[in-house]
Symmetry: C2
Subunit: 646 residues, 2 copies
């Protein structure tokens, strides 16, 4: 056998494929185990450990096995070779070893202190996969799904509060964690730890920003299962989703914050540059994501002569929808913006416009596709987090830093929720009650985003210590707080078992009824939101979707030729078909509740005070919904009722 | 900026992420373009260029742009560095360059003649992605989908012929191509080409085996669109799907065929070892794939006390189904078998058993999911094939070899189809007519599998020449033969516009009617198949699915306790619910025809002579279907009718 070297080479290569297969198989096995466990838990209605917690636990055990039961590292590993001829690291290196040329691909820079014996264990190495896989493959579907399944009506009603929590709250959280950690780091330096490390205030702020990303997965899944109060749900959902986007951009802005002189001193120019970066990146990503969605909406809406509409071909439609949404992410990344933010707003915009243009088949398909991808990606990430505790090779466990981080995270959460809620309650007609505030405080889990941000850079020792600490905080919060959600809800006497559609229907009827004197309802919403809603309804929806009134009726008389050009012929017949928003809300049930069997969505029967529907339709709906409304009123009588900041 | 090195390092890393994003974006862009083109083509009913051909064309143009419009290669590329200290290539290499350690990962062995200036262009390099991605990510969904959407009834009716074409035909094709190419190589050596190359007969056979894999994508898509005669469709579909599996295992077996002494001389021991390898790998992969499917069926069928069935949670069900099917592939790969073969038979078995146990929601989900994945993977592969012509850096164009390969491929196809059809017609009651044979001859396109097998090993010069040649043959056959399918069908007067359900229904009624005297129908099928069918229906289906008669009625009396244990309680009520097979056939429409909008499948009304259904049900079905049967008879009167080899 040894005679024929070329056959051996083929076999070697096959060996490599098989290794890739083994690695994937381990993940598959973990996921299968997780699914079977979820099934078991669902059967026994266990809620003390959520599926994400379970996935993490399995990952942990598997990591332990891989760490201690796989073969010893290669002999050559951990040895650093000198190469004087090279000036910098090329992306590909050709090396002549015993008269055979091998190609090596650049992977990363390694700090001298990281060069240790573990490097060579091929299995361990394969298992600690590239953070870019997280950012490019696993996170986008989760975030897109979050945006796509946003309960828009509730979201916009609470928009002011959500934005306050997400932007101001995250900033507060970041600064508070940064300050506390800086104190701890100073103390550690004082007692002689961290010798010779570079650990600046910006590093503490970096840690603060990445630890400020709360997890939208675990708590919300439980909330959804229990049908917790819709307003609380929306507040938490909106906060955690937007807050992820904010934290990502914040982390990036801080990482490129580079004061000219002393890294510890405050450099106003660099600070404002960072703020500028933050705003620029956020706005740019937002624009990128929305514009891709608008392009998708336009393509799916297109009605050229002699052309069959795209919705006649559901597969092409779904494919285009999927690819354009992913492209929003990739384009943002390629342009140096933040893909996650882009894909979030792309999802929101797709749900608002494109969804209306899709064929019924594509509506189902896209929903189910993203739901499924979300489900898989979520479980992979949580499995991987469990794995990382044992497979990551450069952990630095520092008890003081870890203790400090735990303190900082909770103090920061408190500084975020309570003062902001107090301020918001000054402006809100429907206050955020105390028990909601406590629940929001309790629900500040850290999850995938914090982990992904931490693993993105683990080169220097401070960053490694941060990664280790972040991982432990994720474990603790997901297991303890995630598991404690149900008891906490009971203890805080927060109402559960609410059907958001019913809730909404009641609202809608309320609005429809008061539509007769048009001012009372409108006054409750923020004027900015109202203006936007009017503009959207009158101009954007008719241009981008089949929904809404035809442009010919909303535009001034002199615009008629343009309006006629832009209006879909079908829109004339479909004047009353403004069921876009409601459709999504109705569909949320379908999307998130994967234990119920499918029900095909019909157009919802609720309508806001802003629609231009004819009186006949209004009356019809009033008739339909009134009974439900009264029923609902009784149900919610004892509860305070919320509305967004005016 | 240069002062703070660590910030620069973060930026560098970000640069790397962005490059990954750009690369993916290029593919997304190509796919979007392809989808829009398909849409355009579908509108204008263009058939001269199939979507796969279109995808390839766009890939080609994009490859041209990347090749000639991107920046020049890195300075360091193409330089080989010496390293005396190393004995062999470790999987990870740490290199100290100007006091900074860089980590490099082993990619591959490079032959000395391949070390050229192109190596360093990062964009080109990223675009020529790892063949393992093909085998582990892109091919499995395509092959699984093929198995999952197999028209089982038609397939089994023609099983004998299909197996003959797939096994014997592929072997003939491989040997004929090998012999012809060996002749050409001898001639080339004679006129002084290929100096200093090692080019043995086994290499020619290797080329023969990889070129024997016909493409199941392009022609069948067109056939399906045109609703070509079902028997021709089934013959071609079955042949090309199974033939891929055979060609893959054959290629692998030949690549590990290592005669002891002279590589050109025939070594009986090594030959039989290769044959043994082939059979072992094929059987092992088959067993692996089927057993995963059986496990899935068992899990989805499980009915423990106090346990909700898995089908109450469609998302978990879909997830499990997906993961177990993928695991079949990965396990086979990890065990040194052929994943593609495993996943094919896994798909067939899943469709046969598991599908019956899925909830209606999961049925739709899995169908649509695999359909979508198939659609994307297919287009990615064809785009990538186009790209490869310009981005692959070690093409060897040898006109004589290419000419020889074209001749060999067509001669081999002829030696496969015509003699085997002649032999088969001796045994078949319903002959394979001449025009079908010509069409099968014409439909021998080479596609993704041939390409993937060729790209898997491109180290030596002969292999590079083979890859280049294979690529050109793929281009030619997909564009010319793919585009010529419709004219060819017209020219050969093959009937189109046939509804396979109708066709089948007619068959079924025919069988149901003759069920009264039970022997006539059965005689038409092969006895082996009949035995298997009976066994499957009586024992396997009741154990693995809700369909079929309860075990208590099919097992002998003394087995009753065991039977009662194994039978689902619902099976007693569902005695008549043996609609599994038919379900799949009915659903095929839904699956493959992605231009039609969704229709929810109802249980089909046809039934074979083998079912144990009660007379009442039979009569009911006869009533339903008889009109259609007569209609169908008129329609098919002028056509010869086929049945499988007895």
């Amino acid at each position: 056998m040894e005679k024929l070297k070329k056959y051996v080479s083929v076999k070697d290569e096959d060996q490599f494929y098989h290794q890739g297969a083994v690695e994937l198989l381990v993940f598959n096995f973990l996921l299968i185990l997780t699914i079977l466990t979820i099934w078991l838990f669902k059967n026994h209605r266990f809620r003390f450990l959520h599926e994400t917690g379970g996935a993490m636990l399995y990952g942990l055990v598997m990591g332990l096995i891989i760490r201690y039961a796989t073969k010893a590292p290669d002999v050559d590993s951990g040895t650093v070779y000198e190469c004087e001829k090279l000036k910098s690291g090329p992306s590909t290196l050709l090396i002549n070893i015993t008269n055979q040329v091998y190609e090596y691909q650049y992977k990363r820079e390694v700090s001298h202190h990281n060069v240790n014996g573990h490097h060579g264990n091929a299995m361990l190495q394969k298992m600690t996969f590239d953070p870019s896989i997280f950012f490019n493959i696993l996170l986008p579907p989760i975030i897109f799904h979050a945006g796509y399944s946003l309960k828009k009506r509730h979201f916009f009603r609470n928009l002011g509060s959500i934005l306050t929590y997400a932007f101001l709250g995250t900033a507060i959280s970041c600064i508070v964690i940064g300050l506390i950690m800086y104190g701890f780091v100073k103390a550690m330096l004082h007692i002689g730890q961290l010798k010779g490390w570079e650990f600046h205030f910006t590093d503490c702020l970096f840690f603060g920003s990445l630890m400020s990303a709360t997890d939208p997965v675990t708590v919300l899944a439980i909330f959804h299962e229990l049908h917790v109060d819709t307003d609380l749900y929306t507040l938490l959902f909106g906060e955690s989703v937007l807050n992820d986007a904010v934290a990502i951009v914040l982390t990036y802005s801080i990482s490129i914050y580079s004061p000219k002189e002393n890294p510890n001193a405050f450099d106003a120019a660099a600070f404002f540059q960072s703020v500028g970066n933050f705003l620029g990146i956020f706005a740019g990503s937002f624009a990128m994501g929305s514009s891709y969605a608008v392009v998708t909406a336009l393509i799916s809406f297109m009605h050229l002569t002699k052309f069959t509409k795209l919705c006649e071909f559901p597969m092409l439609e779904t494919g285009l929808f999927f690819l354009l949404s992913w492209s929003a992410f990739l384009s943002a990344e390629a342009a140096g913006l933040t893909g996650i933010v882009a894909v979030l707003f792309c999802g929101v915009t797709q749900a608002h416009y494109t969804y209306n243009n899709l064929s019924p088949d594509s509506k189902m398909r896209t929903k189910q596709l993203f739901e499924f991808m979300n489900f898989l990606a979520e479980n992979v990430i949580f499995c991987y987090m469990g794995l990382a505790l044992f497979t990551f090779q450069n952990h630095i466990f520092n008890p003081l830093f870890i203790f400090g981080a735990f303190v900082a995270v909770f103090v920061a959460r408190a500084c975020n929720i309570y003062p902001l809620s107090f301020l918001l309650n000054l402006g809100r007609k429907q206050k955020i009650p105390r028990n909601f505030q406590h629940m929001m405080m309790f629900s500040g889990l850290r999850g995938a985003i914090a982990f992904a941000l931490a693993i993105r850079d683990t080169e220097s020792q401070p960053k490694q210590m941060m990664f280790t600490t972040a991982l432990l905080i994720v474990f603790f919060t997901v297991w303890v707080f995630g598991g404690g959600t149900t008891p906490m809800l009971t203890w805080l006497q927060i109402r559960v078992g609410i059907d958001p559609d019913e809730d909404l229907k009641a609202e809608a009827i309320n609005q429809t009824a008061s539509d007769l004197d048009k001012n009372t309802t409108k006054a409750e919403s923020a004027w900015l939101f109202r203006m936007w809603y009017g503009f959207d309804h009158k101009y954007l929806k008719p241009i981008l979707t089949h929904a809404g009134p035809p442009l010919t009726t909303t535009l001034p008389q002199w615009c008629n030729p343009v309006a006629r050009l832009l209006t879909s012929p079908s829109a004339y017949g479909d004047q009353l078909k403004d069921d876009g928003t409601d459709y999504i809300i109705n569909n949320d049930e379908l999307t998130e509740n994967y234990e119920s069997s499918a029900h095909i969505p019909g157009p919802a029967q609720d309508r806001t005070g802003f629609t231009q529907a004819t009186g006949k339709e209004n009356i019809h709906e009033g008739d339909l919904g009134l009974g439900g409304y009264e029923l609902q009123l009784e149900h919610t009588a004892g509860q305070p009722h919320m509305n967004s900041l005016a």
